[in-house]
């Protein structure tokens, strides 16, 4: 029982430690503003990583998310910036399209018994290629709706700002937690990752679940792409290169087993916050190389993989 939550506690403790360290060392670090910046700066990554958590818990992987973010952003840029669509109309087209894209990947994985790795790798190249073909240039989005989105939010004490992106993220998070723990679909996701064959025997509709999982992941990636356009007011084919790997790292640091079957959406949020705090710490310091972010995340990943291995061994011996 307690081993299931252990990685979560470890991540939480490390996160508080690092944040505390920053707060002691730098003026303005231990502020509401920095905390909320962590959420709004990383909202797109968190939304993506929530989708990735589902996929990884189910025993799969989705490498296409970074490219889907870029494609979604470029489509926003083209439809809104070039063709003068209303943003809501553009979103209403982009989100179902992305969901379909994910569903097709899920179908391939299920029907042809293909490795998720290779199918989503193909999806990654396809989406990035398409995005770049649509526009090599970054397209500016200038629409009153975007100004309204940027201005919408709640002012909190300490010069903090609870904006649209963070609110959207919180909504996604709540829905994801509810789905994962209180719905049949959530139970299917855990069952698939635990043991594919016994899941089938137990009557899990594997086809539906697999397609649903990848469709959800692509949907969330496209939503993240939209959130990213709120962040930059533009769509650009070269955004979010390598974001799929950041998302996977966050999921693992957040305590989800890479082999599937166990993990928490909330842990993933902690994982992203961890990466964000490291980055903020390095920027506040101002003299450390930004590549330290990658080095520390590499070490953390390594540490968590070993931790998972040890915990798993413990579980097997107990059984």
């Amino acid at each position: 029982m307690s081993t299931r939550y252990l990685p979560l506690y470890v991540t939480g403790a490390l996160l508080s430690l690092l944040f505390g360290l920053g707060a002691i060392q730098f003026d303005g670090f231990g502020s509401m503003r920095v905390v909320l910046n962590l959420f709004s700066d990383n909202a797109f990554l968190m939304i993506t990583a929530i989708g990735m958590t589902l996929v990884i818990i189910s025993g799969g992987i989705d490498l296409s998310v970074g490219s889907v973010i870029a494609l979604s952003g470029v489509l926003c840029g083209l439809l809104i910036g070039e063709y003068g669509w209303h943003p809501l109309a553009a979103f209403a087209l982009i989100l179902p399209l992305a969901t379909l894209f994910g569903a097709i990947m899920g179908m391939w994985i299920h029907v042809y018994k293909l490795q998720p790795f290779i199918v989503t790798l193909a999806g990654m190249f396809f989406a990035r290629g398409l995005a770049t073909m649509l526009s090599e240039e970054s397209i500016a989005i200038d629409h009153p709706f975007y100004d309204a989105v940027a201005d919408f939010g709640f002012s909190l004490p300490g010069n903090a700002w609870l904006g649209t992106s963070t609110l959207l993220l919180l909504l996604v998070l709540v829905v994801a937690v509810l789905v994962m723990h209180y719905s049949r679909f959530g139970a299917y996701v855990y069952a698939l990752g635990g043991n594919h064959q016994s899941a089938e025997l137990m009557g899990v509709p594997v086809a539906k679940a697999t397609i649903g999982i990848y469709a959800t992941s692509s949907f969330l990636a496209a939503l993240a792409g939209i959130v990213f356009t709120f962040y930059t007011f533009s769509g650009y084919a070269l955004t979010a290169v390598g974001t799929e790997l950041d998302a996977i790292a966050a999921v693992v640091i957040g305590g989800t087993l890479l082999t599937g079957g166990s993990g928490f959406v909330v842990g993933t949020i902690l994982g992203v916050l961890m990466m964000g705090v490291i980055q903020t710490y390095i920027i506040f310091d101002g003299s450390l190389s930004s590549w330290w972010t990658k080095i520390v995340i590499g070490l953390l990943l390594f540490f968590f993989i070993v931790l998972q291995k040890l915990l798993n061994r413990g579980r097997v011996q107990h059984a």
């Binding site: 730098f26 503003r33 910046n37 962040y231 930059t232 190389s289």
Partner: protein, 314 residues
């Protein structure tokens, strides 16, 4: 009594001077993708150290999201001013509005940004590309007394640097009736492409006879062009004059060897002017032009050997 007064005054003064000196400035750099970019970063760091500025340096690894995060952290940290060397032109409006709300002045260096509202940044400090073209052309016209058949290696199609350099150059030679560009093609700013294109130009121009000068939009293409001229059996630097823009060490070597004639330096030393502007702005002088040009000097063979030694060691 007297002593304590002196002491007190001394302490107050030193506090004041510390306060005046210890500016904290955040610098959001693109990355370290080229030699020029690295010398740009190093130059800003050195200049900050010289002035006693506490510089917060952030390398965005070529990602705009990292740059925006860095700028937002600078704002949260309450720095006195922010310098941004933007990776792309679009997407700066929200974060610049946040900086403005926090009353932190922002200076843009190098590449341009697209924001509708000019008041979101203090100024942009960059080299004026058309000025570079004008300087190169003026040197060539002075050297050839305005009699010259020129071939041109253009930069990447659509790049601001290529468009503006060509325009500046053409503005000047337009005043000389006996000077004209006989061939013009893109070499995409690279050495290999520059060589390839120059080879075909020389073939088309009767082996290069009658061509008086090569004008390249950057040193890399010029170096490729020099190679092609040599292979065609001509002597670059005397049979065909070579003039370009950038001032990379290899080109200084080519000038020292007599293979090239002149280049306009694209200065990586943007830190000094940026800090000057910030100090002026924070000092209360808000009357600052929206574009500050830092066009470099033109270098010729006369100083090439010495400059090459200096630059190679950097």
């Amino acid at each position: 009594m007297k002593l304590s007064t002196i002491l007190a005054t001394g302490i107050t003064l030193s506090c004041l001077s510390v306060n005046a000196l210890a500016l904290t400035i955040g610098f959001a750099q693109v990355g370290s993708e080229s030699g020029w970019r690295t010398s740009f970063s190093e130059s800003v760091k050195a200049e900050a150290k010289k002035r006693g500025i506490d510089l917060k340096f952030s390398d965005a690894q070529q990602k705009q999201e990292n740059q925006i995060k860095a700028v937002r952290s600078f704002i949260a940290q309450g720095v006195d001013a922010i310098i941004i060397a933007p990776v792309v032109e679009t997407g700066w409006k929200p974060v610049l509005r946040e900086a403005k709300r926090a009353r932190i002045p922002v200076v843009i260096v190098d590449r341009n940004i697209q924001v509708g509202d000019d008041s979101l940044f203090v100024t942009r400090i960059a080299s004026d590309f058309s000025e570079e073209g004008r300087k190169a052309a003026q040197w060539l016209m002075d050297t050839t007394q305005g009699n010259c058949k020129i071939v041109e290696l253009q930069g990447t199609v659509g790049a601001t640097a290529a468009i503006d350099r060509a325009q500046g150059f053409n503005d000047v030679i337009g005043k000389y009736p006996n000077a004209n560009i006989v061939r013009s093609q893109t070499g995409e700013f690279t050495r290999t492409k520059g060589k390839e294109v120059m080879e075909s130009i020389l073939k088309a121009e009767n082996g290069g006879k009658g061509v008086c000068a090569l004008w390249a939009h950057n040193d890399e293409m010029a170096l490729g062009g020099i190679q092609a001229i040599k292979e065609a059996g001509l002597k670059p630097g005397s049979d065909i004059l070579v003039v370009s823009v950038d001032g990379v060490p290899d080109y200084f070597k080519a000038m020292a060897d007599g293979d090239a004639n002149a280049t306009v330096e694209l200065s990586p030393h943007l830190g000094g002017p940026a800090f000057d502007v910030i100090e002026k702005y924070l000092g209360g002088d808000k009357n600052i032009p929206k574009l500050i040009s830092t066009t470099g000097d033109l270098f010729t063979q006369d100083t090439a050997a010495a400059e090459y030694q200096k630059r190679r060691l950097q």
